[in-house]
């Protein structure tokens, strides 16, 4: 099809055509970036935690005063044993923090005692001997802790003992600290004194609190340090269908064995994850709504303007038809015209999309818009343009040649 006459005709209504092109450009720029933001949010909310999320429940408690002179460490271990004996509970542990939880423990680690700058900031899980089983984390290399490696947190805190002799780290952290070398047997320094040896590597274990950097999110270590309930919370593992029953039974059990503690929270880990990402889900929903609204507004704008043009040009269309143009040619005329305008818009829009992405990167620490989003946005807008212009163009095609002979 010859586009020269179309361009000639467009030149006579520059303003209107330019407005549509601008609208398309703006939509294209916004839609490309918003689609990327949506994927980014969804990716974040699907980050693997490394634990058997659908089998876990956690229980946070608070003491209400006099513990009756019991040793808190002994008390905590008895309570844990009582919870582990509940029918349906496969394993129970006391831990300082849980994935998607409220508190997070973080430590800067070094690869040499005299190093001035820390090598990485790492999420620190303080675990007893039941932790690996309870969390269901996948040990992919090395071994578990042996019973003689466990320390008591109070001793560590008060400096009565050396740092733990061994630790288990995530695959992500191993790669971050040691690259492609085998991390097993390597030394990591938690302070300036003695090293801690890496004895095992787990597939994933997410730290409780993380930003958009998913490598940082998976940088965790497990230390063989037992806690009392002053710092620890319970995590129980059970069958997915059993979780509510286990929560109820655990509340009852704790009231029996530890009347001077109250339960602050007893929930499934799934609900913790869901709460943690609620804001991301709302934002993703909002962004989807923005994309849809933009598409609708743009489509209606094209329909409206194209309809006006068709009405204005009824006589010209009639004359063309009278001179022998087929309906198909009239239809194609409007479709090509739309295609040209949208293409101009898309070209400007892609540049704008890239510019906006650069600004977002700078302002909100987002990654750069991957280039493949640009053609996706372009194709979407071309389709939208063609769909919107179809009805007005069909109406144009149905203008009878006799119109040419009438005035107005």
């Amino acid at each position: 099809m010859d586009i020269a006459p179309i361009i000639a005709a467009l030149k006579r209504q520059k303003t209107a055509a330019a407005l549509i092109a601008i609208e398309i450009a703006l939509s294209c720029a916004i839609i490309c970036n918003v689609l990327f933001l949506i994927t980014h949010r969804l990716e974040r909310s699907h980050v693997p935690s490394g634990v058997v999320e659908d089998e876990l429940v956690y229980i946070r408690t608070a003491g209400i005063g006099a513990s009756g002179g019991d040793d808190p460490m002994v008390r905590a271990r008895e309570d844990r044993a009582a919870l582990a004996s509940i029918p349906g509970v496969k394993s129970a542990t006391i831990i300082n923090q849980i994935p998607f939880g409220h508190s997070s423990w973080n430590t800067g680690v070094k690869l040499a005692a005299d190093q001035q700058q820390t090598s990485a900031n790492v999420g620190a899980y303080y675990a007893d001997e039941h932790m690996l089983d309870s969390f269901g984390v996948k040990l992919i290399a090395g071994r578990q802790f042996t019973s003689d490696e466990f320390l008591n947190f109070d001793d560590v805190l008060k400096g009565k003992s050396d740092p733990p002799s061994s630790m288990i780290i995530t695959k992500t952290l191993a790669r971050r600290l040691f690259g492609d070398e085998n991390a097993i047997g390597k030394n990591i320094y938690l302070d300036d004194t003695k090293p801690t040896r890496v004895i095992g590597i787990v597939e994933h274990l997410i730290r409780p609190n993380f930003g958009s950097d998913l490598i940082d999110a998976d940088s965790s270590m497990i230390l063989p340090v037992r806690l009392s309930l002053g710092y620890g919370q319970f995590v129980l593992r059970t069958d997915p269908g059993n979780r509510d029953a286990v929560i109820a039974a655990a509340r009852k059990k704790l009231k029996e064995v530890s009347p001077n503690r109250i339960v602050l929270d007893a929930k499934t880990l799934e609900s913790a994850r869901s709460d943690y990402f609620k804001q991301d889900r709302v934002m993703a929903g909002l962004l989807v709504a923005v994309v849809i609204s933009l598409l609708i507004v743009t489509a209606l704008g094209i329909v409206g303007l194209a309809s006006f043009w068709v009405q204005r040009r009824r006589r010209q269309i009639g004359i063309r038809r009278a001179l022998g143009a087929t309906r198909r040619q009239i239809l194609h005329y409007f479709q090509t015209e739309n295609f040209l305008i949208v293409t101009v818009g898309i070209v400007i829009g892609m540049g704008a999309a890239y510019a906006i992405s650069g600004w977002l990167m700078h302002q909100y620490e987002l990654p750069r818009l991957p280039l493949y989003y640009l053609p996706v946005g372009a194709v979407a807008l071309w389709l939208l343009g063609q769909l919107s212009v179809l009805a007005p163009a069909l109406r144009a095609a149905s203008v009878p040649p006799a119109t040419a002979t009438r005035t107005v």
């Binding site: 609208e23 703006l26 008060k158 400096g159 934002m283 609204s293 209606l300 704008g301 977002l360 909100y364």
Partner: protein, 431 residues
């Protein structure tokens, strides 16, 4: 004339109801979305204590080790217990308070109420006067009570209602953990937004319900909430008293700029003095931000909220361009009408006015406002901790009107100008 134009506009708009509806809806949606997000931003970036935020300062010093030192970085965000107590006792400011968040279990006398946990603030006596906390009954405790580790507690109106059924509860006993406290004051509704004096906890929700002396809470080993940054081993494991763990917030009130200057100098002297005693290995790094500077520094407004504002204005821009295009097409179809008016003597100015009135009618201001109210209702249903604060206020109401007016003018300007450019002779001939 204006009334006549309004009448003409109404007729013209009625002639194309679908198109009019489309334009009004697009503009309305754009304005609604923009006002919704702007309102949220406006609320979240507001001043929590407008009367005196410029006179309240958050002194920062840097006692950390030389390890991980990067020149130019911000000093420690909180203070250690020894530094906090030194600064507090130096009494160099008009008022000063040292504080931290915590949590305690309330054991009500009424057996019908189960023990429950509340958020607490452990602080020193000046807190209430410094932050203008309003009392419904009683008052805060005295500085002497801090020294005496008094079992005094200030509770909020809502906790008073829950435990004592409301009324003047000053002098009553409240059992926290396993200790009896005497209620010395009941706060009236007080909710500075954001929770500026401690940004560790939720910044817009979950405010503390009991306030007690820091000395008492530390003696009784009440649980603390917040963040703690330790940079060296603590000799006997006592992180709370350690000079190497920062975990407390320290605020001062300085009533004149001269005093603020003097306080800054005092903090520098303090750093020097500590260095001479073998602490503070880093070069002096002292800051004295005001409330608003501190909030800005801590990036207290969620980035999502800012992003939403940009997004909604982008959307408004698309709606605007859309409306300009439609209106232009519509006006230019009425070339004949314009030509007739011009031919019988209307100057261009009048044509311009006529079409601007018609454009203005499309402003969709009312619709925009309605949609904004609906949008804010939607925000309140969200999970975010600021959700319940999302209400429109007079400033934003005015803002809506201005935005609607600006949008209408912008959308009508180009089409109306093009309309008044019509040359009457040419148009009359061609028809």
């Amino acid at each position: 004339m204006l009334r006549y134009y309004a009448w003409l506009a109404a007729r013209s708009l009625k002639r194309n109801p679908a198109l009019t509806a489309l334009m009004v809806l697009a503009i309305g949606l754009g304005i609604g979305a923009s006002i919704t997000t702007l309102t949220v931003l406006h609320i979240l970036s507001g001043d929590p204590i407008p009367e005196k935020s410029a006179r309240l300062f958050y002194p920062q010093i840097d006692p950390r080790t030389i390890n991980d030192y990067h020149p130019g970085e911000a000093p420690a965000e909180q203070v250690t217990y020894p530094d906090g107590m030194n600064l507090l006792q130096a009494k160099r400011a008009d008022r000063q308070a040292l504080m931290t968040g915590g949590g305690a279990v309330v054991l009500p006398d009424d057996a019908a109420i189960d023990p429950f946990s509340v958020d607490a603030r452990y602080t020193t006596a000046d807190f209430f006067a410094m932050f203008d906390a309003p009392f419904q009954y009683g008052s805060g405790w005295k500085a002497a009570d801090d020294d005496a580790h008094a079992r005094d507690v200030v509770i909020t109106r809502s906790l008073n209602k829950k435990v004592f059924g409301g009324g003047n509860s000053v002098g009553k006993t409240l059992r926290l953990q396993s200790t009896d406290f005497r209620v010395v004051g009941v706060l009236d509704d007080w909710r500075p937004t954001p929770h500026f004096y401690d940004l560790n906890s939720a910044r817009y929700s979950d405010y503390e319900e009991v306030f007690l002396p820091l000395s008492t809470a530390m003696e009784l080993e009440f649980g603390r909430n917040g963040s703690m940054d330790c940079w060296d081993n603590t000799p006997d494991g006592d992180q709370l008293h350690s000079p190497n763990c920062s975990w407390l917030q320290f605020w001062v009130e300085l009533d004149t700029p001269e005093k603020a200057k003097a306080y800054q100098a005092f903090l520098n002297n303090y750093s020097d003095e500590q260095r001479s005693q073998g602490r503070f290995p880093r070069p002096n790094n002292v800051r004295l931000p005001t409330v608003m500077q501190w909030l800005d520094d801590q990036k207290v407004v969620p980035t999502d909220v800012r992003l939403q504002v940009w997004l909604s204005f982008g959307f408004l821009a698309v709606c605007l361009v859309n409306t300009i295009g439609l209106m232009l097409a519509k006006f230019l179809r009425r070339n004949g009408e314009i030509a007739v008016r011009r031919a019988i003597g209307a100057p261009r100015r009048e044509i311009f006015a006529q079409f601007l009135v018609e454009a203005g009618a499309v402003a969709g201001a009312v619709l925009g406002l309605l949609l904004a109210l609906f949008g804010l209702w939607g925000v309140r249903q969200q999970a975010a901790d600021y959700a319940e604060l999302a209400h429109i206020d007079p400033t934003m109401l005015l803002m809506t009107l201005l935005l609607a007016l600006a949008t209408a003018l912008l959308s009508g300007l180009l089409p109306a100008w093009r309309a008044c450019q019509v040359t009457p002779a040419l148009q009359l001939k061609s028809d």
